[in-house]
């Protein structure tokens, strides 16, 4: 399958799994059909009995991976900071729970464990001997609103440089670099209540220009939009206003490319987050050509996961078609740049 290793995160089928439209077996069949080189499982989502799956399920999963010739690549775990009222987890909890999850990942055959930013660099460092002993690459996800130059991630970078170990690293997620919010977010609002076509054009301006937001708002009005369109633009697209999506950054034309390059040295797995690949194989929200170019320049030889998140906003779109398009877009770009 070309020169880029594809992973399919089963999370992309999550909405239909939750609703009961797909069984876990259905999802494995779809992943196989789509032709990924490997798969990612979000542990609390699809592992029955999480965080203590039965021996029977572990055997079933390993047999299924063998039967469908699927390589279990990435096991995604969480740092559940909200578990206890009025406090975060203590370090002893973050350590013990992470080790438990890493052992489970090993038993299931995974090679990479993706954790979350709230793990904290000091705790991650203490997990290195366990990662080494298990032969697991433990990686912290850089997910929006985080970004490479954020102080927390600079601390992680310092750790990676100091440890210089193949067992510690990062999973950059393109949500940390998105140029705009997906247009699909507008599909959740009644079409006869606002001027969708105008807001899609405004979103294009956010993604491809540095025109100030207040000037884009004026453009919305000039094109025939009204106050409600401005309110929707602020809340759903521009990330401003009282109802804005919490803390997410819109990077427009200047995501942190250099920072992405810095972290890529410590990356074995990239979350190729996407919401909608159009018929021309373009994903408006992420500057894929630029990021793939950097990955090639840095001789990245890990996996890129097709992480589909569009069904969150529009369940009528085929997840299979979208993931297939995403694999094609990656192949085309990898060959072209």
């Amino acid at each position: 399958m070309g020169h880029v290793k594809h992973s399919i995160t089963l999370y992309g089928f999550g909405d239909r799994y939750v609703s009961g439209a797909y069984t876990f077996e259905d999802i494995l069949v779809k992943a196989k059909k789509l032709g990924g080189d490997g798969i990612e499982v979000v542990a609390p989502q699809m592992v029955p009995g999480h965080p203590n799956p039965s021996e029977e399920w572990i055997s079933y999963f390993k047999d299924a991976c063998e039967n469908y010739e699927l390589d279990p690549v990435c096991y995604s775990i969480y740092v559940d900071s909200g578990k206890h009222k009025n406090r975060f987890l203590y370090e002893h909890e973050r350590l013990a729970e992470s080790i438990h999850e890493m052992e489970t990942a090993k038993r299931l055959g995974f090679k990479i464990v993706r954790s979350q930013d709230a793990l904290l660099p000091t705790t991650m460092e203490k997990l290195l001997p366990y990662a080494e002993a298990l032969g697991i690459h433990l990686a912290v996800e850089m997910h929006g609103p985080w970004h490479p130059s954020a102080p927390l991630f600079q601390q992680y970078l310092e750790l990676f440089r100091k440890a210089d170990s193949p067992y510690l690293g990062v999973v950059p997620d393109f949500s940390a670099f998105n140029s705009c919010t997906t247009d699909l977010i507008l599909n959740s609002l009644p079409a006869d209540c606002f001027h969708k076509d105008i807001l899609i054009q405004a979103n294009e301006c956010l993604a491809t220009t540095e025109i100030p937001v207040d000037e884009i708002e004026q453009m919305i009005l000039n094109m025939g939009g009204d106050e409600l369109d401005i309110e929707i633009f602020r809340a759903k697209l521009a990330g401003t206003g009282p109802n804005a999506k919490m803390k997410m950054n819109i990077w427009r034309t200047h995501p942190e490319f250099d920072g992405f390059r810095d972290f890529l040295k410590y990356t074995k797995y990239v979350h190729g987050k996407f919401w909608f690949v159009d018929e021309n194989y373009k994903e408006k929200s992420v500057m894929y050509p630029q990021f793939i170019k950097i990955m090639k320049e840095e001789r990245f030889n890990g996996f890129i996961a097709s992480e589909y998140e569009g069904s969150m906003f529009d369940p009528t779109i085929s997840d299979e078609d979208q993931i297939a398009r995403h694999i094609i877009i990656l192949e085309k770009l990898w060959e072209a740049v």
């Binding site: 939750v18 740092v79 206890h84 009222k85 406090r87 975060f88 979350q116 959740s188 409600l228 309110e231």
Partner: protein, 164 residues
Amino acid sequence: MKSLEERRKIVEPMLALRMPPKTATLVRDSLVNRVIEGCCTSYEFEIGALSYRGVWISTIEDIEVKVDGETIPYSNMMFFCNGLNYPIPDMGKHSECFWGIKDRACLRIYRPGGLPKGTHRVSITIYKRADFGHSFGDGEDGFEDAQEFQRTQMIKDSCEFTVK
């Protein structure tokens, strides 16, 4: 197109809405009277998955239920999940119970005779913290700034169940 005011009334509540659960909170057609040795002292209905990835029941801060307009007191209500039962005010203490999205969870309401035949309106409001987020710290350290874990999400649903 409707007037600006009419459209605003429809859209503004939707803008304030966080991501709703993926399935109905009250699982339709799930209400049954429980009969034990010919006796009935309770009825129960299922609760659908609250998140795309399952939740710790300790993140549930409160559950309010109304049946036919009448508020059910804690003393007459029990939450069941993974073969264990939890009084509602105690759920926050049970950080050992993970409610996976395929795990059956239900609320049992104690009432001699169960619900009479016919249609009944059930309304539920679940108050819940986020399981995870992007705030960070160690224990209480830094928690005062962690707004995402201090705000509770209200998950509401209401439907009619028919007892045959």
